[in-house]
């Protein structure tokens, strides 16, 4: 399956990217995956430009095509101000403003990183509703990693459980159909307006 990983980490190296890579690797141990990673940091300027000009630049356009064509998504954000980062949200804003169905029906594993475990419910209170709104299929287990989780018990287990769920859900889905531009024939548009 075509697995696309979206990471909104800002530092290099980034714990957000680290978590994203571990989730991708765990998924790859369960099913054949072709992994493409989208680093939003590299797209930050093009994302801002998209808001101003209304169209995506070349790099952003390629990333958007990858996400739209994915059989499964792993999306990981750092927690900022009790939510996903603005950059993370902005990417999905520009992705779906022109195509509201861009990731409808796509299996998604949601994950987040933060400095303290007190923010872990961001996944349930911010991330899950966002992807539910976009009509993606979010797997039941969401993975949060606070600084103290790295090296502690429990994170591995959650990564493995979430990866299993994503691999199974994506495996059960038929390959994502290439969405054709829908066109209503003009006669049909006219007919719909004729008074009864």
């Amino acid at each position: 399956m075509k697995l696309v990983v979206v990471s909104a980490g800002l530092s290099v190296p980034s714990s957000t990217r680290l978590l994203a890579d571990r989730l991708a690797a765990a998924t790859g141990r369960r099913t054949d995956v072709e992994i493409e990673t989208v680093e939003l940091r590299d797209l930050a300027v093009e994302i801002a430009h998209n808001f101003v000009t209304g169209f995506p630049g070349p790099e952003l356009s390629a990333a958007a095509d990858a996400v739209k064509g994915a059989d499964g998504l792993i999306v990981v954000t750092p927690v900022f101000s009790a939510s996903y980062s603005g950059l993370f949200k902005s990417f999905f804003d520009v992705l779906t403003v022109l195509d509201k169905d861009a990731i409808a029906g796509t299996p998604v594993l949601i994950a987040a990183t933060g400095g303290t475990p007190r923010h872990s419910l961001v996944l349930e209170h911010a991330m899950r509703p966002l992807f539910a709104y976009l009509r993606a299929l979010v797997v039941p287990t969401a993975v949060y990693a606070a600084s103290e989780d790295w090296g502690a018990d429990g994170l591995d287990e959650r990564i493995e459980r979430a990866a299993t769920e994503l691999a199974e859900l994506a495996g059960n889905m038929r390959h994502a159909p290439v969405r054709e531009e829908e066109l209503i024939p003009f006669e049909q548009q006219l007919a719909a307006l004729r008074p009864e």
Binding site: V52, F55, G57, L193
Partner: protein, 370 residues
């Protein structure tokens, strides 16, 4: 239209009142309206074929009453085709559009056509008592009625969005019994390309703010559907494109002079750099030769086409500069474009529509029927 490639070249104006970022000065509405007229007259003087004005009903734009302005310009020109970019088919009463543009067509001796569009300002719908959620449906129903009003002397009609008409005659009847040519303009709605194709009307893609691949997708769709509806082959569909240029003899001078206007432009300012934007969209800032090369490349994207309009007078550029730009466009760029576009243009590709040609073709059809 001048003979040559069968193409029409012209300009289209948004009619924005924008401060000149280099001086901070904002023209008055009166100055801007007069400037639009001066620009149209200059277009005729330098040998361009078309002047089109936008339609807006909110500041900072002035052209709320396009046929008034175009009628005035018609009286002061001999050859220029007067058009719009666009006329709001959604919020204007189609009966009034039928009347206004038929009147303009008579006064201008046939030098009038019209481009239908849906506008880009959401609140304009409620200002005219319409529902924005019905945008596409309004465009479909209103145009269907307009199309009949120009072709049938007596119309009885009932629809969803307007008072029914019983034995109604829109006056004046179109000049020589031939309706003004209609373009349908859209940037991103395939429904509008489909509508243009259904009627065999022209399709104008205002590609100035968009990458070429997108323009190609929309024009290809229109051409395919034009052929599907039996109006001719795909290459016989009538296509128009937007463009946006700023020129000086030396390209560095053009870039230097235009940059502050670009950086502060209401539509795309404070975003990508001028260099990024020119590489991603048809905006060309440079020498006349660069503008010629870029414009000729449009044909590689959409095939041989009929009308090329340039946006020349926005983002606060002073009138004097715009008139200089039109001199360069008319004297150095368009003559070369006419010549180059005419090369290798298949004889089967139709010329740009004119009233005279449409009258002749209507008479031919009558002759065949009789």
């Amino acid at each position: 239209m001048q003979s040559g490639s069968g193409m029409q070249f012209g300009i289209f104006s948004v009619g924005d009142v924008t401060p000149d970022p280099t001086t901070g000065r904002t023209p008055t509405e009166h100055e801007r309206i007069k400037a639009m007229v001066a620009i149209a007259l200059k277009a005729e003087e330098v040998g361009l074929d078309v002047f089109a004005t936008g339609e807006h009903h909110n500041p900072p734009f002035v052209p709320s009453s396009p046929t008034t302005m175009l009628g005035y310009i018609a009286a002061r020109t001999e050859n220029l085709i007067l058009s719009t970019s666009t006329t709001l088919i959604t919020t204007n009463d189609p009966v009034k559009i039928a009347e206004d543009f038929a009147m303009l067509q008579h006064l201008a001796g046939g030098r009038a056509d019209v481009m239908m569009g849906r506008g880009n300002t959401g609140p304009v719908y409620p200002w005219f008592g319409k529902d924005i959620r019905q945008g596409i449906n309004l465009a479909v129903e209103n145009y269907a009625l307009l199309h009949r009003l120009w072709r049938e002397d007596v119309v009885t009609w009932e629809g969803k969005f307007r008072t029914p008409l019983q034995s109604f005659t829109s006056t004046p009847r179109p000049l020589d019994g031939v309706a003004p040519f209609v373009w349908h303009g859209s940037i991103r709605s395939p429904e509008i390309a489909e509508q243009a194709a259904y009627y065999g009307d022209g399709f104008f893609h205002n590609n100035i703010f968009w990458p070429q691949e997108h323009t190609k997708k929309m024009v290809d769709l229109y051409r395919r559907r034009f052929a599907h509806y039996g109006h001719g082959t795909e290459e016989q569909a009538i296509v128009g494109l937007g463009g946006q240029v700023f020129m000086r003899k030396n390209s560095q001078d053009a870039v230097k002079e235009f940059r502050p206007y670009f950086d502060n432009a209401p539509v795309y300012g404070h975003g990508p750099s001028l260099e990024e934007f020119t590489s991603q969209t048809p905006l060309t800032v440079g020498s006349p030769q660069q503008v010629i090369d870029r414009t000729l490349s449009f044909r590689d994207t959409v095939g041989d086409y009929q009308r090329q309009l340039f946006l020349m007078d926005h983002a606060g550029l002073p009138l004097k500069t715009v008139l200089e730009q039109l001199d360069i466009l008319g004297e150095e760029v368009v003559p070369v474009l006419r010549e180059e576009f005419a090369k290798n243009r298949p004889a089967t590709v139709p010329d740009a529509p004119t009233h005279a040609a449409r009258v002749a073709s209507a008479q031919n059809r009558k002759g065949v029927d009789a």
